[in-house]
Every structure is written in C-alpha cells, then in structure tokens.
Amino acid sequence: MKEFFKGITGINRVWLAVVFSVFLVLPFILSPSWLSITTEILILSVAACGLNLLIGYCGRVNFGPAGLYGVGAYATGLLLEKTGIPFAVAMIGGPVIAGIIALPVGWFCVRRTSHYFALLSLAFGQIIWAAIHSWYSFTGGDDGIAGIRTPDFLMSIPSYYYFTLVIFAICLVVLWMICNSTFGKTLQAIRENPHRVEFIGINVRKYLLIAFIIHGFFLGAAGSLYCGFSHAIFPVYASFLKGNDILIPCILGGIYNFIGPVVGVTVYIFLSKVISAYTMYWLLFLGIVIVLVVLFLRGGIVGFISEKLSPAMQRRGVSGDTRG
C-alpha cells in the first residue's frame, strides 16, 4: 500500500489534504440543500469512476451503466426492506450483488468490441431496467419502494454526507490502487492494442471480464449509497437517463485521467442545478456544453487543464497526467 502512495508527489499530497479538509468542513458552510447536492456529487462520482475503469482504462464503453447501479440500489433496498438484515450488511450486499450480476453481463459483452460491446451493454442495462420495472411482486414495479429505513444516526443530511464521504474515499483509493497496479497497466495496454496484448500472453477477455465485474461492483456501491440517501428505490435508477448522468460526466471530465470523472460529475451536477433554477431548458445548455467539450476538449476538462499545466508541472517534477 505504501508503495502506491510514494507515487503521489509533494504538491499533489498538499492538494489532496486541502481538498479533503474542505470536504470535512462543508457541512458547516453549506445549506442543507447544497449539502444534499454535494452528497449526490460524491455518490455519482463513485459510479463515474467505476465506469471509467472500463471506458478510460479498457477502452470499452458500457452504455447502460445505470443497470448495475440500479442493481446495487435495489439489492440494498430490498435487503433492508424484506430481510431486516443490518444496514451495514445491506450496504455491502448491494455492490457484491451488482458484481455478481456483472459477471454474466460482462461474459457476453467482452466477446464483442467497440460498437457491439456498447450496444450489448446498453441492451443488458435495459433488460435490468425492464425486469425491475415489471416485477411488481418483488421490486414494487413502477411504484418502487419508498420509506426505506436507514439507522437513526444516518437520518440527518450532514451525517449521511459524512458517511458518503467515507465510502467515497475508500472507493476512490481502492479504484486508484487498481488503476495504478500491474493489472491496471495491463488494462491500459488492452485499451491501446488488444490484438497485440494477446501476443504477450494475456487472455484479453478474461482481463476485461474482471474489469467489468469490478466496475459493476463500484456502480453497485454508488447505487447502494443512493438508496440510503433517498430512502427509496425507483425503476428510474436503472433507466437509460440515469445512465447518462454517469456516462456524460466521464466524457465531460476526461476519461484518460483518474480524477476526470469526479470533476465531470461536479460540473455536470452544478450545471444541472444552477441552470435548471433559471430555465426548464437546462438540457439544451448541457447539450451545448457537451458538444463544445467533445469538439474542442478531447481530453475533457481535466485532460485540457493537465495538458496546459503539464509543462509547468514537469518543471516542478510533478506528473499531472494519470493516463499512464
């Protein structure tokens, strides 16, 4: 573990400390509604970073990420509602079950590349949504299930914010370690040239499947967190539109940068809340922003910034690019 963190040089450590301190004091600064929005940003960031393991590191796009996000949310919600098991177990159960569901889904998806991979993953996402939506007796169907209880100490907005912050930090550290591991490096090689990787002795499908399961786990973790946050589960959590909330921030923030999706989620949620306060046509503005990013900032916001800053950072001996 120590070895991993030796890679984070001085100035980045300072940045991390500053950012984390800011997160710690946010409940004392922000209004409850903005604190809720921040909680939402943290939850969605876990999902987006999980998804980016597949997009940015493997070069494969899951177009239906909300499917596994929904599985996490429903697994936790249904475990709490129907079995009465402790909250902690239900919170762990969500991502684990999402990971288990990701296994058969991934098994099919990794057999295809590029567009076909994306379309298959979208189809599976829609199947999960349809199952949740139609299975009234088990999932509550269209009505979902409301009033899911979380422990009393997590009922207040600040306490759930801190709980989310801890899970967010754990998830990002684990994901960061995976991305910077020998496994993560091999995934990057697969992204770059899957054909060549076969000829260095790597079973590409197996590696992609493992990555798919891991990404499913983290999508599920985010879904579980959101279930606890909203005290409810609805089919919309697994819908295509929810998938956009996870996918678009990855592109917005930058897929070749570990922290890109977090920045993407922050900008995305901020834009959606701020613009929607003024006009109901906020999606129009969001669309324009995405078009501009795709056309002019191919590496996303973080990619653009690190590109501009990297000469300066290199002079200081700091690696701003987490591409490699």
């Binding site: 910077n180 591991s181 076969e198 002795g201 490699g324």
Partner: protein
Amino acid sequence: MILEAEKLIKAFGGLRAVDGVSLEIEEKELSAIIGTNGAGKTTLFNLLTGGSKCDSGRVIFNGEDITTLHPYEICQKGIGRSFQVTNIFPRLNTFENIQVAVLSAQGMSKKLFSPSRKMAQEETSEILESVGLSDQKDVLGSLLAHGDRRRLDIGIALAIHPELLLLDEPTAGMSPKESLEITELIQKLARERGLPLVFIEHDMNIVFSISEKVRVMHQGRIIFEGKPEEVKANDEVQEIYLGEKV
C-alpha cells in the same frame, strides 16, 4: 528441434495462402523466410502463433501440439513475435510498452494491488538497453520514429522471454542505416541469447548476410530450403523470386 509444422493448409475463399507447408525449426537456428508479396509468409507466421487457425495440419512446439491454442496460450508456451505493420501500445511510453510484456511473462499482470510503478524495473531496462531504446524510455510509443517503433515491437516480443522468436519483416520501411542496425540487433539476439530466430525479409543483403538457413515461399508452398549460397545458386528460386536468372 524446437518447432515442427506438418502439412499446414490455410485457405481464404478459393485462395490457398498456405498450401501444405511443413517445416522444422532447430534449436539456435537463425533463418529467414523469403518470397514475393502474397507468397503466404505472414499467414504462415499467423498459423504458427495462433493468429489464424489452420484448416488442416499440426504445429508441434517443444513436443506439444499447439495447433488449436489461442495466441496468448502459444505466447505463454514461449513463442514471441513481432509484426509486419508496427504493433505497439501508442499511448504508453516506451518503458511501459516493454514493462507490460515483462509483467505478463513474470505472471504479475493479474495483481490488482501491486503498484506497477516499481515492478519489473531491472528486466525492462535491460530489454530497452538491448534494443537500443534506453534513452527514450519516457517517450510515448506513438511519438517514436518509425525505426524506433520497429525496435520497440521487437523489444515487446523479446520481453515475454520467448524460446523462439518470429520477426515479420523487421526492417520494413526503414532507411538503409536503420536496417543495418536492426540486422546487427537480430544477430546479437541470436548469438548472445542463443535464441532460435526466424525472420521474414525482403532485403536480400540482410537475408544472405546473417541467416544460416533460408526458406523460399511461393504461392503458399516452401519451394526451397537450404543455406544462403544454395538458395542463391538455385535456378528455380532465381526464376520465381528474382524474376530471371542472374
């Protein structure tokens, strides 16, 4: 004998790209395969390395039938190859390009929580050194000059600890100076590491200067096999390959 192929046949539609090829590669062999474009040389390499499946025939490597294995399994058995069209990892730097292959050979690629930063440093550096890319280890693969990319391709093949190395036109598209450097590299690898090495080549100067054995392919068959001077003297080869008697 390290590798033996028996009556390999591979057809694409009506065209038999490889038509009943049998060959034996000896330990410590340094040999070349020559032939006109479309003679079936690269297809033969693909059959030996699992890149395509043969319609019939067998490939035996170290006494084991590898005919139906996947490329990654064949690679794990110890056959490394480079490609006719440079085949590297463009957005990884030179060091990482080699490192991922070394990690694979060491069985380290699966480790979810082993930091790649510190892994396989020594061996990666050694391979970079032997292919002459040490001074460019931080350069992205895509930014390397053509000749250096070809070297990197060979380096990746070398990094998997092969027991047999197949190089597909290692000097394709190179300047005469670069070709000479690659030729020296091939000789060095074969001599210093005692590595059996088979390469496809169009440049006859290279073929005749370093290979101990030459196989001539024509229309999917090996029509002649022998020492360079025998190939030079063979009428049929001259007629088919060189166009006319010289």
